[in-house]
C-alpha cells in the first residue's frame, strides 16, 4: 500500500521578520509511523507543527495531506482532513467538562468536508451549516441520534485514555497529567489519521512518562495512526520512536533511527550534550 503519505512537508520554510524559524523542512508520515522531532529549544519544532496544522502559513514550500495541497487552508480545514494535534502549553477548553472537551472535537467530523472555493460550493456549505443549526433547534430525531452517538464516542475515548472517572469534571480542575491525556483524547475525537503531540510528557514524573510511552504506542496501533512526537525526554523519544528528525536553528541536521541519531556528532553537539553520551551512551 504505497499510497501517498498521510502528511507531507516539502521544502517548507518560514520566517518571522528576519528570523528563519524553519528552513527547507521535509517530512513524510505514513500510517503506523511513530516518529520523533527533537532539537534544542527554539529549533523550530513547534513552528513545524504550526505550519503542518495551518496555524502559520509557510513562506516557501508545500504541505500536503494525502496529496491535497493545504497551503492557505485554515487549521480547522486541515484538521478535518485528518491531522490533529496537542499543544505545548496545554490549551484545553478550561471551563468545559472533560466529556464536552472531547465532544467538541467529535462534533467537527459531522460537518461537511467541503473545500471548494467556488461561490456555489461556499453557498451550499453555508446553507448546510445554517440548516444544521435548525436541526439542533428543532431537536430532530436524527439530531438526537447523532448527539447520542457523539456522547458514546467521547465516552469511549475518555475510557481509552483512562479518564472516565473525570467525565463531568471541568477541565481546569484536572491534575496536570490528566489534562495532558485529556488533550490527547480530544485530539483523537477529531478522528485523525495523523496525530501530532507537542511535548506530551512535559511536567510528568518519570513514572507517568513510562505509562505515557505505552499509551502512545497503543494509540498508534488501535487507531491506526501516524504519530509525530516532539519531546525533550530522550528516554521517551528514543524508547518509542522508529525514526527521529533533529532540528537545529530551523534546519534539519539529522534523521534516522534512534541509535543512529544518538551517535550523530552534530546532534550531540547541538542538542544532547556530551554528558548525555556519558550517562546514557551505554543504555539502549
Amino acid at each position: 500500500m504505497a499510497s501517498a503519505p498521510l502528511l507531507r512537508a516539502d521544502g517548507v520554510s518560514i520566517q518571522f521578520g528576519g528570523l528563519k524559524a524553519l528552513t527547507d523542512f521535509h517530512l513524510s508520515i505514513q500510517q503506523g509511523d511513530l516518529q520523533g522531532l527533537i532539537g534544542p529549544n527554539g529549533a523550530g519544532k513547534s513552528t513545524a507543527f504550526n505550519v503542518l496544522t495551518g496555524v502559520y502559513q509557510p513562506t516557501q514550500g508545500d504541505v500536503r495531506v494525502c496529496d491535497t495541497k493545504v497551503n492557505g487552508r485554515k487549521p480547522h480545514q486541515i484538521n478535518l482532513l485528518g491531522v490533529a494535534r496537542t499543544f505545548q502549553n496545554i490549551r484545553l477548553f478550561r471551563a468545559l467538562t472533560a466529556l464536552d472537551n472531547v465532544k467538541v472535537a467529535c462534533r467537527a467530523q459531522t460537518a461537511l468536508h467541503q473545500f471548494d472555493t467556488g461561490l456555489v460550493a461556499k453557498l451550499k456549505n453555508a446553507g448546510h451549516n445554517y440548516a444544521d443549526w435548525w436541526r439542533a433547534l428543532l431537536l430532530t430525531p436524527g439530531f438526537q441520534r447523532e448527539e447520542r452517538r457523539l456522547t458514546e464516542q467521547a465516552e469511549h475515548l475518555l475510557s481509552v485514555m483512562g479518564l472516565s472517572h473525570r467525565r463531568d469534571e471541568e477541565a481546569r480542575n484536572l491534575p496536570y497529567g490528566e489534562q495532558r491525556r485529556l488533550e490527547i483524547a480530544r485530539a483523537l475525537g477529531t478522528q485523525p489519521r495523523v496525530l501530532l503531540l507537542d511535548e506530551p510528557a512535559a511536567g510528568m514524573n518519570t513514572r507517568e512518562k513510562a505509562d505515557l510511552m505505552v499509551l502512545i504506542r497503543k494509540l498508534r496501533d488501535d487507531f491506526k495512526l501516524g504519530v509525530l512526537v516532539i519531546e525533550h525526554d530522550m528516554k521517551l523519544v528514543m524508547g518509542i520512536c522508529e525514526q527521529i528528525t533533529v532540528l537545529d536553528h530551523g534546519e534539519t541536521i539529522a534523521r534516522g533511527a534512534p541509535a543512529q541519531v544518538r551517535s550523530d556528532r552534530k546532534v550531540i553537539e547541538a542538542y544532547l550534550g556530551d554528558s548525555y553520551l556519558e550517562s546514557h551512551g551505554g543504555a539502549a
Binding site: 534544542p40 529549544n41 480542575n173 497529567g177 490528566e178 512535559a202 542538542y271 544532547l272
Partner: protein, 251 residues
C-alpha cells in the same frame, strides 16, 4: 484535620535558618490545596520539593512568595514574620520567584523583561555586570535581546524567567519546574547554574518533576502528597528510598 505523619530520613546538614514555613493552609475557593505544610530552608541551602501533579508544590511556592494568602499557618523569612506580606513587599527582602508557567511579559522585549527583574535595584553599573553574567549563562538571550519575549521558544522563555529572577540578587530563589520543556543540555546548564548560584550563597527552593535531577542537586528534599508533606530527608537519602523510587522514578 491532624498534621500528617512526616517520615524523616537521615540527618540534615546544618544551615542558619532563612525561611521557615509552619503549617500553612491554602484554599482556592472550596478546594483546599494545602492542608498544613511545614518546611524550612537554610541560608545557602538548596531544598527540593517533589510530588505528584496537583500535590500542592506550586501552591506552596505561591504562598511563600506572597502571591497567595495562606488561610492558616505562619511564614518567617530572614527572621521576620512575612505571613501577611504581599509579593512586592517580599522582593526587597530578598525573595525571587520564577513562577510556574514562566510568567514572562510576552509583549515586552527580552531586555525589558530582564530590566524588570532588577526593578528595585538602583546600582546601574552592577546591574549591567549581572546582566552580562546572565548573558554568558544563557547566550541565546543575548542574541534575542530585542525580540518580544512572547515569541521565544518555550525553553528560551524558561531561561529568561530564571535569568530575570537572578537579576534581583535574591537571598532565596523560588523556582517552579525550571526544567519544564527544556532540552536535556539546557536542563543541565540550568542545574549547573543553579548549583553555582547556590554555592555563591543564594538559597534555593526548587520544585521539580524531574526528581532524579532535583534530589541529586539538593541538600535536602521534601515530598508532598495531596497538600501534605509526607516525607523529608537529605536529597541523596530520598533518592535512595524505596517509596520515592517507586512513586516518582518509576522503578
Amino acid at each position: 484535620m491532624s498534621e500528617a505523619q512526616v517520615k524523616t530520613l537521615g540527618e540534615r546538614q546544618a544551615f542558619a535558618p532563612l525561611l521557615a514555613v509552619d503549617g500553612i493552609k491554602v484554599h482556592y475557593g472550596a478546594i483546599q490545596a494545602l492542608k498544613g505544610v511545614s518546611l524550612t530552608v537554610g541560608k545557602g541551602e538548596m531544598v527540593a520539593l517533589i510530588g505528584a501533579n496537583g500535590a500542592g508544590k506550586t501552591s506552596t511556592l505561591r504562598a511563600v512568595s506572597g502571591m497567595l494568602k495562606a488561610s492558616a499557618g505562619r511564614i518567617q523569612f530572614s527572621g521576620q514574620d512575612t505571613t501577611s506580606l504581599k509579593a512586592h513587599q517580599l522582593v526587597p527582602r530578598g525573595m525571587a520567584h520564577a513562577p510556574e508557567g514562566r510568567g514572562i511579559f510576552p509583549n515586552l522585549s527580552v531586555l525589558e523583561n530582564l530590566e524588570l527583574g532588577a526593578y528595585l535595584r538602583r546600582d546601574t553599573a552592577e546591574i549591567r555586570a549581572d546582566m552580562e553574567k546572565n548573558f554568558a549563562l544563557f547566550p541565546v538571550l543575548k542574541e534575542r535581546r530585542g525580540q518580544m519575549a512572547g515569541t521565544l521558544s518555550g525553553g528560551e522563555q524558561q531561561m529568561l524567567a530564571i535569568a530575570r529572577a537572578l537579576l534581583s540578587r535574591p537571598q532565596l530563589l523560588l523556582l517552579d519546574e525550571p526544567s519544564l520543556g527544556l532540552a536535556p543540555q539546557v536542563t543541565e546548564t540550568i542545574f549547573r547554574t543553579l548549583r553555582d548560584v547556590n554555592k555563591a550563597g543564594v538559597s534555593v527552593l526548587l520544585v521539580e518533576q524531574n526528581a532524579h535531577l532535583a534530589l541529586n542537586s539538593a541538600h535536602y528534599g521534601y515530598v508532598l502528597e495531596t497538600g501534605e508533606v509526607v516525607m523529608a530527608g537529605p536529597g541523596k537519602a530520598l533518592l535512595e528510598s524505596a517509596e520515592v523510587r517507586r512513586a516518582y522514578l518509576g522503578e
